[in-house]
């Protein structure tokens, strides 16, 4: 059962390719499909679908952000596990590189001929813009 001595809970963020974060934190704010919610220690066991967006992780006085492209959050009183589809740690990215990628994607969008191409590039562009805006 949950350890009541500390206020920290365990948080882990895993993507299909690797584990991005694993450790003790104070609070996690998750963009669920039905609205953003914050999970603290001893939160009721919940499972919810997450949409594309930014997860905020509070640890002491620091706040870190991660971009995720949808997934599932498994909240228990002990902690939170997020199974993400695509996840990027916003601390580790290079803003200039992302800006350059956005430029590329914008050009691709202009050049895109078929609807499928357009849809996939605009999706890519949206992802990059969210990343840059929150970095």
């Amino acid at each position: 059962m949950a350890n009541v001595d500390t206020d920290k809970m365990h948080f882990s963020l895993v993507s299909p390719e690797r584990e991005l974060f694993s450790g003790d934190v104070d609070q996690v704010v998750v963009p669920a499909e039905s609205g953003e919610f914050g999970a603290l220690k001893l939160h009721a066991a919940t499972m919810s679908v997450i949409k594309k967006g930014i997860i905020k992780i509070f640890e002491g006085n620091t706040e870190s952000k991660m971009y995720i492209g949808g997934g599932i959050a498994d909240v228990t009183p002990d902690g939170v596990t997020i199974l993400a589809e695509d996840a990027v740690d916003l601390k580790s990215i290079d803003k200039d590189a992302v800006a350059a990628e956005i430029k590329n994607a914008q050009e691709d969008l202009r050049d895109a001929k078929t609807d499928a191409d357009k849809a996939s590039t605009s999706e890519k562009l949206e992802r990059l813009e969210t990343i840059l805006a929150n970095a």
Partner: protein, 295 residues
């Protein structure tokens, strides 16, 4: 009888082959380490998602509203066999073992009167299976231009599988790949992916441990609906990554053997050449002595 020059050219050619196999072995060894790391890095996700799916599946088991991927189509007529092999060869019996396993499976299913469809992933498997079951193939997924296998690749396989399943073209799907046990041992394995099979005992154990009742947002079914394709994806990704690691392991072993064989061959040829040279010297000497005695 081969002349001395013939021996020298053969030894030189075996030596250069040995250099190539040696280099390939070292390349495989370094790639193996990376492939192993990738396979290990994917493990937390696949374990966690398996636990969650097992948990959820246990609670909706048997209910008519359970997602189709879990329930199945209600029939057991058409089976899809997805065979994952490597894109390249020079890896000993690695691909042949996977193909052998899938041929056994296909033969078994056909003997039971089922209909079988085959989807191949990886060039080597396609080439080998074409000879036996070419007419059963419904497609091939090519990763020859992909440098590192990741979620995008497994998604391609998973999407293809779910799309034929949703279209009602198949009832059951199996995935054949090689389990990576160690660098020298890879075990061809068959795993049923559709309908999703869950280990219920594991789920019960987890339920007892948590004993907390979950709240589901929006609903159990919706979450399961979102979760199952991801589960499928992660299982395939795990299979592909293990396959990849196994491939490099097998290649390393095969190339190590080849290098050693080449070394043995060089030794044998050198010995033969030296014998021949000595025989020639002896003949020449006897001829000279015989000539001197005649004078």
């Amino acid at each position: 009888m081969a002349s001395l020059k013939d021996f020298r050219t053969r030894i030189a050619s075996v030596k250069s082959t040995q250099k190539i196999t040696k280099a390939l072995q070292m390349v495989a060894a370094s790639k193996l380490r990376r492939a192993q790391q990738a396979a290990e890095a994917a493990r937390p996700y696949s374990e966690k998602i398996a636990g969650t799916v097992a948990n959820l599946a246990a609670s909706v088991q048997g209910s008519a509203s359970a997602p189709k991927l879990l329930r199945g189509s209600g029939k057991d007529e058409v089976h899809l066999v997805v065979v994952a092999t490597s894109e390249r060869g020079l890896c000993g019996g690695f691909n042949t073992n996977i193909v052998k396993k899938s041929r056994e499976l296909v033969a078994d299913l056909l003997a039971q009167g089922k209909q079988v469809k085959i989807l191949t992933v990886g060039k080597k498997g396609r080439d080998q299976l074409k000879r036996f079951y070419g007419e059963l193939s419904i497609g091939h997924i090519d990763f020859s231009s992909v440098r590192t296998i990741g979620a995008a690749q497994s998604k391609e396989v998973a999407d293809k599988m779910t799309s034929v399943f949703e279209a009602g073209e198949i009832d059951v799907a199996h995935f054949v790949y090689s389990k990576f046990r160690s660098v020298i041992s890879q075990i061809p394995t068959v795993q049923q992916l559709i309908p999703v099979k869950v280990d219920l005992t594991e789920a019960e154990a987890k339920n007892d441990a948590n004993s907390g009742v979950y709240e589901y947002e929006p609903s159990e079914e919706t979450i399961l609906e979102a979760l199952l394709p991801r589960y499928l994806n992660s299982q395939i990704l795990r299979g592909l990554l293990e396959n990849n690691a196994g491939f490099y392991g097998a290649q390393m072993g095969a190339m190590d053997n080849a290098t050693r064989n080449a070394g043995d061959l060089i030794k044998k040829l050198t010995l033969q050449m030296n014998r021949k040279r000595q025989a020639m010297i002896t003949t020449e000497l006897t001829e000279i002595i015989a000539g001197a005695q005649a004078v």
